[in-house]
C-alpha cells in the first residue's frame, strides 16, 4: 500500500498535541497505579462468590453492582487491570528483548545470518498473527501462561524486522564508520551508537504494542483460552457477561469500555510520540 505515512487526520483536528500526550500518559499512569494498588482499593474480594447478592444494581457497597455469582464487579475490574496491564508489559518486554537481539544481530552482521533469520521471520509473518497464536495455544492447551508464551513467540518477529531495518540504515552512517575506524568493539558500537538511536522508535512502538498485547490477551480470554476461572480479566469478564447480555448488559459494557479506553490511550499516545520524535511507525 502506497498511502503516504502522514499524521492521521484525527490528530490534525485536535489542536493541542501536548494535551493528548499529557492526558493519555496521565490516564495510563493512573491506571497502572490503580492496578498496582488493587488489593487496597478493591472494596471486596474479587473471587468471593456470594449468591445471596447476585446481579445487584450499583450501590454504595457494590459501586458497579455484582456479577451472576455475586462477585463485586468493581473489584474484578481492578484486579482485571492487573492481569491485562501486567501481562501486556511482560509480553511486550520479552518479545521486544528477543526481537532486539535477533534484529540487531541480523542487521549488524548481515550476510547469511541475516538471510536465515529474516526468512524465518517472513515465514512467521506470512500467517495472520492471531491465527498463529490460536494454533500455538491449541498445541500448548488453554491457560494464561500458554497464551503469553504463544504471543511472545509470535510477536518478536515484528520487532526483529524493525530493528534490523533500523540497524541496517544506521550501519551505513558515518559516525558508525568512524567508530569502527577508531577501533571500537562491536559491543561498544552497539551500546553507545546504535542503541541510543534505536530508543525513540522503541518508545513509539512500545506504546502501540502495549495496546496490542492487551487486545490479544483479552481476545484469547474471551475465547476461553486465556485466564481460567476464577481469575478476573477483562476479556474473560466480557465472556462471562455474554450470557447476560439481555438482562444485564453492563456486565459486558464495563470491561469493554475499559479495554477500549486503554487501547485508545495507548494508540493516541503512540501516535503523538511518533509525531514528537519524527519516527515513522513500525512496519507491520
Amino acid at each position: 500500500m502506497n498511502v503516504p505515512l502522514e499524521r492521521p487526520r484525527l490528530l490534525d483536528r485536535l489542536s493541542n498535541q501536548r494535551l493528548i500526550l499529557i492526558g493519555c500518559s496521565a490516564f495510563l499512569g493512573l491506571l497502572f497505579l490503580t492496578a498496582l494498588a488493587a488489593p487496597w482499593l478493591a472494596p471486596h474480594d474479587p473471587f468471593l462468590v456470594n449468591l445471596a447478592v447476585k446481579l445487584q444494581e450499583p450501590s454504595w457497597t457494590y459501586p458497579l453492582g455484582t456479577d451472576p455469582l455475586g462477585r463485586c464487579t468493581l473489584s474484578r475490574l481492578l484486579y482485571g487491570a492487573r492481569v491485562s496491564l501486567g501481562f501486556a508489559v511482560l509480553i511486550f518486554a520479552s518479545s521486544l528483548l528477543i526481537g532486539l537481539l535477533i534484529g540487531t544481530l541480523a542487521g549488524y552482521i548481515g550476510g547469511w545470518v541475516d538471510q536465515l533469520l529474516m526468512r524465518f521471520c517472513d515465514g512467521v509473518m506470512a500467517f495472520p498473527s492471531l491465527i498463529l497464536v490460536l494454533g500455538l495455544v491449541g498445541i500448548f492447551g488453554p491457560g494464561l501462561k500458554q497464551v503469553i508464551i504463544a504471543l511472545m513467540l509470535v510477536q518478536w518477529v515484528y520487532y526483529a524486522r524493525m530493528f534490523r531495518g533500523l540497524v541496517m540504515t544506521l550501519k551505513e552512517k558515518n559516525f558508525i564508520a568512524a567508530a569502527r575506524v577508531n577501533g571500537s568493539s562491536h559491543w561498544k558500537i552497539f551500546r553507545t551508537h546504535l542503541l541510543p538511536n534505536i530508543l525513540p522508535p522503541l518508545l513509539v512502538i512500545g506504546t502501540l504494542e502495549m495496546g496490542w498485547a492487551i487486545m490479544d490477551i483479552s481476545a484469547m480470554s474471551f475465547l476461553g483460552l486465556g485466564v481460567q476461572s476464577p481469575a478476573a480479566e477483562w476479556g474473560a469478564m466480557i465472556h462471562e457477561g455474554k450470557s447476560y447480555i439481555r438482562t444485564n448488559p453492563e456486565l459486558m459494557i464495563y470491561p469493554g469500555v475499559m479495554i477500549m479506553l486503554v487501547i485508545a490511550s495507548f494508540n493516541l499516545l503512540g501516535e503523538s510520540l511518533s509525531e514528537r520524535f519524527g519516527v515513522t511507525k513500525p512496519p507491520k
Partner: protein
Amino acid sequence: MNVSRRKKSIIQAVSILSITTLLFGCSNPNEGADNTKDKDTLTLAWPRDIGEMNPHVYNPSQLFAQSMVYEPLVHYAEGGKLEPFLAKSWDISKDGKTYTFKLRDDVKFSDGSTFDATIVKKNFDAVLKNKALHSWLGFISKIDKTEAVDKQTFRMTLSEAYYPTIQELAVVRPVRFLGEAGFPKNGDTSKGVEEEVGTGPWVLDEYKADQYATFKVNKNYWGPKPKVKKIKIDIIPDAESRVLAFEKGDIDLIFGEGAISVDAYNQLKETKSYKTTMSEPVATRLLIMNTKKKQLADERVRQALQYGFDKKTLVEGITSGLEAPADFILPPNLPYTSNLNVEKRDFDVDKAKALLDEAGWKLPNGKKIREKDGQPLQIEMMYDAAELVQKAMAETLQSEWGNIGVDLKIVGVELPDQVQRFKDNKFDINMYSNFGAPYDPHTFVNIIGTDGFGFKEAISAYPNKDQLLQEMKDVLKTTDETKRQKMYAEILPSLQDQGALVPISYLKKMAIYQNGVTNFKFAANRDESPFAQIGIK
C-alpha cells in the same frame, strides 16, 4: 504498511468489543427463506447437530431426534408405568427368563415395509453384535436367544432372571427398530445405516450438518397422526442466540435441560408474551468423586467437601429456585427412591475443616491451600461447558471449597469428552447426573455395577464395595417386590453415605414456546421428544 496495521487494529477492536452484536445477526442463516411463519411447520432450536439417525448408536446422535424416528416395544409413561407400544402384550415365564411379546399387526415402517417379528429379531441381533457397547443396559448381556416364533410373536430368552427387562425396553437406544432397508449388507449397524427407516411418526427429510434438519410426517404411521406437517430443527449452539432467535419469532420452541439461562427463562416468563414450563424432576445433578484418586480415597475428605458448601444457597441462587436442592441421589418421584434413610450433610464449615485436619490435610502457616506430605490439596472438576448452570455451580464450589483450603480447578469440556473421560477414569470430580427415567433405579444400579462406564471405578475405594456390588447384582434378579424394596433401601443409602455420589439438585427440563404452540407436554421418558401431539395455531 502502517495503514494495514491500523486497519487490523480497528478490525480487532471492533470484533472483540462488539462480537456480541454479531449474535443479533446470526440467529438464523436461512432467515426469511421459507416457513418460519408457516402454520404447518414447528421450528425449534437445538444446541448441537442431531447426528446420525441410527437407532443403535450413542453420542453424538441426539436422543430426542432418534426417538422421533424410532419406536420401542414398550412405552414408559408417567410415574414409571410401562404401557404396550409396538408390543401389544407380553408374557414373562415363571422363572423370569423367557419373555414372549405379541406385536401389533398394524405397524408399518416409513418405507411401507411391515413391522414383524423377523425385523424385531434382526434388530436385536444387530444390537447383540456389540454386546460390550450396550452392556450398561443390563438385559442385553443376559440375552441368550432371540426367536421370531411367528409373524406377530417375538421371544427372548435370558440366561438368568432380570427384573427390569421390560423397563429397559422402553429406552431410546439401542433397542428400537430399524426397517429392513436400513441395514447394511453385513447386518452390523454400529458403523452406520443405509437408510433412516423407522416406525415413528417422523421421517428425516432434509439434513445439513451443523445447520438444520427437517422432519416430515411419516405417511405410513400407525398411531395418531401428528398435528404439524413438519418439524424443523435449527442448530444454534449459543444459548443467547437461541433466545434472540426465539424473540424474533424465527423459533417456535426451545426446550431441554439448561436450554437457555435461568435468567433469560425468568425474564421471558415475566414478559407474559410467551409460554414457559418446567418439567417434573428428570434426574439428579450429582458430583461423582473418583475414589481412585489419592486425595478423594479418604472418606473424610469426601465428607468434608460435602459439609464445605451451602447446597441450598447454591441451588437457589444459581437456578433462581427453578430447581430444588437434592437430598437423594435419585429423584424421589421415581420408584424405589424415596424414604431412604441417608445421612444429611448440611453446610458446616467448621466440621469440614475439622474433617480435613483429621484426614491429615493441614493448613500451613500463611498459606491458603491445605497440604499433606508437602502435596497441596488440589482437585480437578470437569463439567459440561455447554451447560450454563453447571459452569456457575462449578465456579461457586471453587470459591466455597477455597474457603476450607481446597484448591479446585474447574475444566469445562464438551459432553462427549466428558463421557469418555468418565469412562476412562480420567477425572477427580465429575459434575454429572444420574440417568433419570426410564433408567432409574434399575439401570442406574446396573451401570454402577458394570465395568467401564465410570461409576464402578469411581466407587472402588468403598470398603464394602464387594458386598455392595453383589447386592446390586441380586436386586436386579429378584422377582419379589418387598425384597426388592428392602434391598434398594440398603443399596442406595450406602452408595450415598460414603460420599462418592453427592446429590446437588433435582434437574428439570425447561421449555419456552410461542403462544401459538399447542399441546406441548414433556415426555415421562427423559430422553424422548415432547412433540407427540404438538400443534401450532
